[in-house]
């Protein structure tokens, strides 16, 4: 369902980014980059209880012509961004949430790997396969 999935580190550099349509990848990269601004804005806006919603789903960041961007932030300020094609039957919010949850779980597994240095690009095959599974659904 997702057209593009990106994991951005705390310092706002990408740890992992993958798009389904290999072409036009740059467009998605750009989209993800611009969505970071929205994410930041939301993070600062949701200042209620610190860490209360930190880990949570930010929801639809902004819809563009033919896709929507959803965001999710973890406690450690790692951001997940999912770009979904609008032409798809609009996915339910819960589905997006579950996708983020899965992403988060896989990301946690990657983090648990002692051989992974935080800040490295994510090269875990398990993570890749999970992301691919989520993206394959698009087509």
């Amino acid at each position: 369902m997702a057209v593009c999935i990106a994991v951005i580190a705390k310092e706002n550099y990408p740890l992992y980014i993958r798009s389904v349509p290999i072409q036009n990848e740059l467009k998605f990269h750009y989209t993800v980059h611009t969505s970071l601004d929205v994410v930041e804005e939301k993070i600062s806006a949701v200042g209620k209880a610190m860490a209360d919603q930190r880990e949570l789903y930010l929801g639809l960041l902004y819809p563009t012509e033919d896709y929507k961007v959803y965001g999710y932030v973890t406690n450690s300020k790692v951001k997940f961004v999912i770009v979904v094609d609008s032409s798809n039957t609009s996915l339910r919010d819960n589905e997006i949430r579950s996708m983020f949850r899965k992403l988060h779980n896989s990301f946690t597994d990657v983090m648990c790997n002692p051989f992974y240095n935080p800040g490295d690009t994510i090269q875990s095959k398990a993570f890749d396969s999970m992301v691919s599974a989520m993206m394959v659904q698009v087509s």
């Binding site: 949570l56 339910r92 819960n94 949430r97 579950s98 790997n113 002692p114 090269q123 095959k125």
Partner: protein, 773 residues
């Protein structure tokens, strides 16, 4: 002897072979046994071998000196090339291929040479017991070559890998008892060639070289070759070979875990366990990620691969390695060093013994591209030094396994937790939707029932229709008492079924079933009720209540003879009964619900108790006057009050007033549910409750209504049949109890529903802030 010119390759090869045969480590003389074995391995006819030995001068000398040995080898090459054996050919033949021993290929030569440098590295591993197969790769080749030369060509058909590994054990035993022992065991275990054969496929390149000989060699080897080979190995720099052999063996065992290249052999496991102990003395404990990282980094595998290995082996994703996980990781490292590609999923044999964690149904990546790159992979030398030789055998390997298993079970729990969490996610959307429904079962059922009842009730014709539909059935019911009981039973059943529904997770079906049951019950009940009150002209004018009206109609339509009789019996009693029954009814009905009360009132009414008559009449008066108002007011009161009261009889008197009101209310409710809108609005207040109860009691109310209808319809021939009256009284009492029970149940359901509602509201409140988008 003629001078022998050898190429460098040949020189090297020959020297290797010589060393191999130099079991006495004389560096001068090759033991005859070895040499002969080697020659046999050359797959030459014995005559040729004899000729060769003669030509090289060994027969003269009686032993194989180095030069003789070399000449012999050259002659073997000549012979293998098909050239006639001539001394002159030694030097005349150019480009003579190296003598092949048992399918020894020239590539072995290359490998052989290539391996030398590696073999050196292997040295340190000598002391280590089952050296991870990885190491073995290179060594193996050299070992193989040597072995091959020594190996009698007896075993022709063993698969390549089998041969080499087989060799190792035999050779090892003499030297290092502890290891060899293990190896022996391992090799012993691997006597089965088939599995080796399978594994052999994996070991393509050099396996072939080893092809036939070694395997069968087990027995033979043990006979003679092992010791000499062993010694030669150890004495020579070809210690690596030994290690290779061990690794081979390990490999064989691991690879040939028969069909499972990933199986961990016992020696390997012991080795791993020992390594584990060095890091974590407690075998049931964990190795933290950092320690494991350091440990495995020493293997000099690329971090990416180590990361992948970690992902595969950390089964419960807890960032720490249990013994099982550690063994799996270690095994994967070894395999990787041996050139095995890492599987995408953890092979089954490596999975920790988790109980129900089977989701990943890991398909053992059995024959992954066994790119045995014969490339000299540096095994983790660092491990060996740190590790004491496997002197300490893990005595209770099984016990260890058990421990591991229990251990893994523990980890499995965490795994299950993890899995569970991840599984919850996708289910959330559904559960959010589903959960409420099942929880709502009872209410929904009740609701459904109520709806059904309402439907039946509202539709005058309708309620009777199911009822009427069953008249024939009712006709079967002859006894009034039975019919009454049937009613109660039905109602009871209906309600009990509702109870079952509550337990049932499928509200809809339960509701439906309940409906069905209720419908089944109600009509039957009604019929039963109807049965007794025959169609006789019931001036149910008094019972203008819709339900009663319907009942009347239904009764009228029910031409049940015997039942009619019973009904008739009823009818006569009706007139007086309505009051008492109504009083009792409402009160019992109230308990259950307004609707029920109404019905119940009607039913008891039908079996009026003389004493109640008065009450009832009063009630009726009340009802008439206070129906509407009372309904609304009484509902809440009645509900709790009724709930408390169970005994219809005693309550009746006690609550005569209430009953009257309630009766009115119930009557109203019955009416309302059926046709009187006014009461409905009042009820709407407690709609949830009322509806539930009303719906829950639709059948009962219908029954009661029918009873009521019957009663009023019955001509007031009061003192007609005392027996009938008493019977009806009895039945009414039963009905009352049933209704009371129903009422209590409904009350309970109502409470549950309210609780659920509250919880949902709370959840909603909690969620609201989250959904700020």
């Amino acid at each position: 002897m003629e001078s022998l010119t050898l190429t460098d390759g040949e020189q090297k090869y020959y020297s290797d072979l010589f060393v191999y045969c130099d079991t006495d480590n004389t560096k001068k003389v090759a033991s005859n046994g070895r040499v002969l074995d080697l020659f046999r391995a050359a797959q030459l006819p014995s005559e040729v071998v004899l000729q060769i030995t003669e030509l090289c001068g060994a027969t003269r000398l009686g032993h194989f000196g180095r030069s003789q040995f070399y000449i012999a080898l050259k002659l073997i090459a000549v012979a293998q090339s098909g050239l006639p054996l001539r001394v002159e050919s030694l030097n005349s033949v150019k480009d003579l291929p190296l003598p092949r021993f048992v399918v020894a290929k020239n590539e072995h030569e290359a490998r052989h040479t290539a391996m030398y440098p590696d073999s050196e590295n292997q040295g340190p591993y000598q002391g280590v017991i089952p050296r991870p197969p990885g190491r073995g790769q290179v060594k193996k080749v050299s070992a193989h070559e040597v072995i091959q030369s020594c190996v009698p060509t007896v075993e022709p058909q063993l698969q390549p890998d089998t041969t080499s590994p087989v060799v190792s054990p035999h050779q090892s035993p003499p030297t290092s008892p502890h290891w060899r022992k293990h190896k022996r065991q391992a090799s012993g275990g691997n006597v089965e060639r088939q599995p080796v054969v399978v594994a052999g496929a994996v070991w393509t390149p050099f396996r072939e070289a080893q092809a036939g000989p070694v395997v069968a060699g087990d027995g033979m080897w043990s006979a003679h070759s092992p010791p000499p080979v062993q010694e030669s190995w150890e004495n020579s720099s070809i210690r690596t070979v030994a290690s290779a052999s061990t690794t081979n063996e390990i490999q064989r065992q691991s690879s040939g875990g028969y069909d499972d290249p990933w199986k961990i052999t016992d020696e390997q496991r012991q080795y791993y366990i020992n390594q584990f102990k060095t890091i974590q003395p407690d075998l049931n404990g964990f190795i933290p990620g950092s320690a494991a990282k350091e440990f495995f980094t020493k293997s000099k595998l690329p971090i990416l691969e180590l990361s992948h290995i970690w992902e595969l082996s950390d089964f419960d994703k807890d960032g720490a390695l249990t013994l099982d996980e550690f063994c799996a990781a270690f095994h994967l490292v070894v395999a990787r060093k041996n050139g095995y590609d890492l599987p995408e999923k953890l092979p089954e044999s490596l999975m920790p013994k988790l109980i129900d964690l089977d989701d990943s149904a890991e398909v053992p990546d059995q024959a992954p591209d066994v790119g045995y790159s014969g490339s000299p992979v540096e095994v983790t030398p660092n491990k060996s030094p740190s590790m004491p030789s496997l002197n300490q055998t893990w005595p209770d390997l099984n016990q260890g396994n058990e421990q591991w298993e229990t251990f893994s079970e523990r980890s499995s729990s965490s795994q299950t937790l993890t899995q569970f969490d991840s599984n919850i996610a996708p289910a959330d959307p559904d559960t959010a939707i589903v959960h409420p429904v099942p929880i709502r079962m009872t209410p929904s059922k009740i609701h459904m029932q109520e709806m059904e009842l309402k439907r039946t009730g509202s539709d005058h014709t309708h309620p009777t229709s199911p009822l009427m539909a069953k008249p024939p059935d009712l006709s079967e019911e002859t006894k009034l008492a039975t019919s009454m009981k049937f009613v109660t039973a039905n109602s009871g059943d209906g309600y009990s079924s509702s109870d079952s529904y509550t337990s049932d997770q499928d509200p809809i079906t339960s509701v439906v079933s309940r409906q069905r049951s209720h419908s089944g019950n109600s009509p039957e009940g009604l019929k039963v009720v109807a049965a007794p009150p025959p169609p006789p002209p019931r001036p149910h004018a008094s019972h203008s209540r819709s339900s009663s009206l319907d009942m009347n109609r239904s009764f009228a339509s029910v031409p049940t003879g015997p039942q009619l009789a019973g009904v008739v019996a009823y009818p006569p009693a009706v007139p007086p009964r309505p009051l008492p029954t109504q009083t009792s009814g409402p009160h019992s009905g109230h308990r259950l619900d307004e609707g029920l009360a109404a019905h119940s009132t009607t039913s008891p009414q039908q079996i009026p108790e003389q004493p109640n008559f008065a009450d009832f009449s009063q009630f009726q008066a009340f009802a008439a006057s206070d129906q509407r108002s009372d309904d609304g007011e009484k509902h809440p009161e009645s509900l709790p009050v009724e709930k408390s009261s169970e005994g219809a009889g005693p309550l009746r008197t006690v609550k005569s007033d209430n009953q009257e009101e309630r009766a009115a209310a119930t009557v109203n409710s019955a009416k309302g549910s059926i046709m009187a809108p006014p009461p409905k609005p009042v009820r709407r207040r407690l709609k949830s409750e009322d509806e539930l109860q009303e719906e829950a009691l639709p059948l009962k109310s219908n029954v009661i209504a029918t009873v009521l209808a019957i009663q009023p319809s019955i001509p007031r021939s009061i003192g007609k049949d005392k027996k009938a009256i008493q019977a009806s009284i009895r039945r009414n009492k039963e009905t009352n109890t049933v209704l009371a029970r129903l009422n209590s149940e409904l009350q309970q359901q109502l409470k549950d529903l309210l609780e659920e509602r509250i919880s949902l509201e709370v959840q909603l409140e909690q969620l609201r802030p989250f959904s700020h988008l």
